[in-house]
């Protein structure tokens, strides 16, 4: 058997020109598939990591509550919810946020921005994500009405650290309220989801929005690891449901994304006499599901192109093998005469092609690692349209052993399958016909 395999590898390169032409196709397909898969992995890891570090938890709570026929967006009784989760999962860390969109005014110029309020005593998750151009984290935490703004906003208003700006918004009740914010920092960040972050104190935004002390807009729950998040959500939902909260999962990916972006608009009228607190609990996978759709398109495009190349390969295999069989008629006749079975002939030709595929796929794997290395050298501008998938201004590719193995196996299996039919033709030729062939 070993000799048989050795013979197959040797024969694979008998017609060097033909072997190279087919082999380059195998290499290109391998490179393409590996690049697509590793890019897809890279995007998923980059986006989820940026989200988790910035604007989503392993579990993200959003909600609304109805009181006096008015439905307000937000999470009422959030300290009670926090305690329930802590009782279930003492290792979990829970961060409450208060967010809304509002106009910021300076010197008669305005800009609509999304404000995020954090509990500065317990929430330092943004501290290492922001690079301060001016100001610093400590000043921010010490000043109640402090705000950290992105450099783009500072440039828009021509603002400097320490200056005062006016925040004006229609509160959840409908009345306008205003507040004076003091610039405590001007930031830049690599994290796409934080590039427009305007950071304030939780209590301050709560008071500007005239909300009660027990109201937040989102709760982010982080577990020590990401195992069994869905099961943990079920446990949390059961416990909160037992306490009278109406808890649900997001209906679709849009719901999940909305959960992350939950803010505080004006109340809506709801025709009910029952006061109720509704919560939506989204897992990080659900929040990422919209990204999964994008990745599906990326993957599908790559696989489609690879499919076309494989089809070309299939046709090439068929033609090449028919030509090879015709060229090697006497060899087939000799092998059959000295006792090699029909299946042996078929096996040899299939093995020859599979060996060729294996060698060039392996080369493709090595080349794709080199291509990935080269692509990683390209630095994209931070404000490019690719910013959401960049890490340190570079594309991220994460090739895995499993993906590599699957690509290698698929190409080998594909080759074996499409080699079988022309090889069967070679196997069916009678020895006497093969020896008398005049090709």
């Amino acid at each position: 058997m070993l000799n048989f395999i050795r013979l197959a590898f040797k024969n694979a390169f008998r017609n060097k020109k033909r072997a190279m032409t087919l082999g380059i196709n195998y290499t290109v397909v391998t490179i393409l598939l590996l690049l697509v898969l590793s890019f897809s992995n890279g995007v998923r890891v980059t986006v989820s990591s940026s989200l988790v570090r910035g604007t989503a938890g392993h579990l993200t709570f959003s909600g609304e509550y109805v009181t006096g026929r008015r439905a307000y967006l937000g999470i009422k009784k959030y300290p009670e919810i926090t305690q329930t989760i802590k009782n279930l999962y003492p290792d979990a860390s829970i961060l409450a946020r208060y967010s809304f969109s509002s106009d910021l005014y300076y010197n008669g110029v305005s800009k609509r921005l999304s404000f995020t309020g954090i509990d500065v005593q317990n929430d330092s998750s943004y501290q290492n994500e922001l690079f301060f151009r001016e100001g610093n984290w400590n000043v921010f935490t010490e000043t109640e009405n402090a705000v950290i703004i992105p450099k783009s906003v500072a440039d828009y208003f021509e603002l400097k650290n320490g200056e005062d700006v006016l925040l004006s918004r229609r509160t959840r009740f409908g009345a306008f309220n205003t507040g004076i914010l003091k610039i405590a920092g001007i930031h830049e960040t690599e994290n796409y989801f934080l590039k427009d972050l305007v950071l304030c104190h939780f209590d301050y935004l709560q008071s500007v929005d005239l909300a009660n002390d027990d109201t937040a807009t989102t709760l982010f729950v982080y577990f020590p690891d990401t195992a069994n998040i869905a099961e943990k959500r079920e446990q949390v939902m059961v416990s909160l449901g037992a306490q009278g909260f109406v808890v649900s999962r997001p209906q679709n990916s849009t719901d999940a994304i909305n959960a992350v972006a939950a803010a505080s608009p004006k109340y809506a009228i709801e025709d009910t006499d029952t006061d109720v607190i509704r919560l939506t609990v989204s897992t990080i996978d659900e929040v990422l599901s919209i990204m999964a759709n994008i990745l599906f398109v990326v993957n599908s495009s790559g696989i489609f192109i690879a499919g076309i190349l494989l089809f070309i390969i299939a046709v090439s295999i068929f033609i090449n093998l028919r030509m090879t069989i015709n060229e090697r008629m006497k060899e087939i006749g000799t092998m059959r005469t000295i006792g090699l079975e029909r299946s042996g002939i078929i096996g040899l030709f299939v093995l020859e092609n599979t060996a060729l595929a294996a060698i060039f796929s392996a080369a493709g794997i090595l080349v794709s690692i080199g291509v990935i290395f080269l692509l990683r050298l390209i630095v994209f501008p931070p404000n490019s349209s690719l910013a959401i998938i960049l890490n340190e201004s570079r594309l991220v590719f994460i090739p895995t052993l499993l993906d590599t193995g699957i690509v290698f196996f698929i190409i080998a299996a594909f080759t074996a399958f499409f080699s079988f039919f022309p090889a069967r033709y070679g196997g069916r030729i009678k020895p006497v016909d093969a020896l008398n062939s005049t090709f």
């Binding site: 106009d103 005014y105 010197n107 008669g108 110029v109 305005s110 006016l166 004006s168 229609r170 509160t171 009740f173 409908g174 009345a175 306008f176 309220n177 205003t178 507040g179 005239l210 004006k266």
Partner: protein, 254 residues
């Protein structure tokens, strides 16, 4: 120590008196409000007129809106129809009591809006075209007199009873000569001045009944942003009942 206690006690009582005053109507203020509301609420009359709104913004070309208004104050009804520019034509508002609908001809749908919606993204709110009912939503306090332009005015402060009004603190400057408002300052909950309305001119539509013909709205947060409104072609002829329906707005856009 004694002085501190006396001062704190005095402060406590003053705060108490202030908060009591904010939650109670001042008789003199109520009388002034009732007087000008009686003059401006055109109960018993149908009124139609054409408003032109010119919005001025710094470093931007003026924006002009023309709207036709139909009012029936006694029934709490009004219909607003956009006539200019072409992009806004066919759009309209219909208000019945506290319900305000915005009609969008492009999608042929009615959107339920806050009754204080800004008209065409200007500084003018739909509620200035309707019946005034300040004392239902606000407590009124008399602040004294001040001169606005050349007129001596009574100054009334309104504090919202609940926070579902756009501007929870308002100061109305009411001309002593004819009892009509000439200026209204609108403040946020934290008492930042946001907008001022100047009632520049009025026309008499019936004995003792007036309608504003020139109004200037100044936005104090956006530098140089103001909206000038002129009200022309005022008529008190009867208006057909079907105009105060949502169907009317639909028909106009066909």
């Amino acid at each position: 120590m004694k002085i501190k206690i006396v001062l704190l006690t005095a402060l406590f009582f003053m705060a108490g008196i202030y908060s009591f005053a904010q939650t109670q109507n001042d008789v003199k203020a109520v009388a002034i409000i009732n007087a000008f509301e009686n003059k401006l609420n055109l109960d018993g009359y149908d009124v139609q007129s054409s408003f032109t709104l010119v919005q001025k913004k710094q470093n931007e070309a003026d924006r002009v809106l023309k709207i036709k208004i139909y009012r029936r104050d006694a029934a709490g009804l009004f219909t607003i129809l956009f006539e200019y520019p072409e992009s806004e034509k066919g759009k309209g508002y219909f208000r019945s009591g506290d319900d305000l609908y915005l009609y969008l001809p492009t999608t042929r749908e009615f959107v339920y809006r806050n009754r204080k919606d800004d008209i065409g993204s200007t500084d003018v709110r739909t509620d200035i075209f309707g019946r005034l009912t300040s004392l239902e939503k606000f407590n009124a306090r008399y602040l004294g007199t001040e001169t606005v332009s050349k007129w001596e005015c009574d100054v009334i402060r309104l504090d919202a009873k609940t926070l579902d009004v756009s501007f929870p603190v308002q100061k109305w400057y009411v001309r002593k000569t004819d009892g009509l408002p000439v200026k209204v300052e609108n403040f946020s909950v934290s008492e930042t001045l946001l907008r001022t309305f100047y009632y520049v001119d009025y026309a008499s539509v019936a004995p003792g009944k007036y309608i504003v013909t020139k109004l200037l709205a100044v936005n104090h947060l956006e530098a140089g942003q103001k909206t000038l409104i002129t009200n022309e072609n005022i008529s008190t002829a009867n208006i057909a009942g079907n105009i105060f329906t949502r169907q009317f707005l639909e028909q106009q856009s066909r």
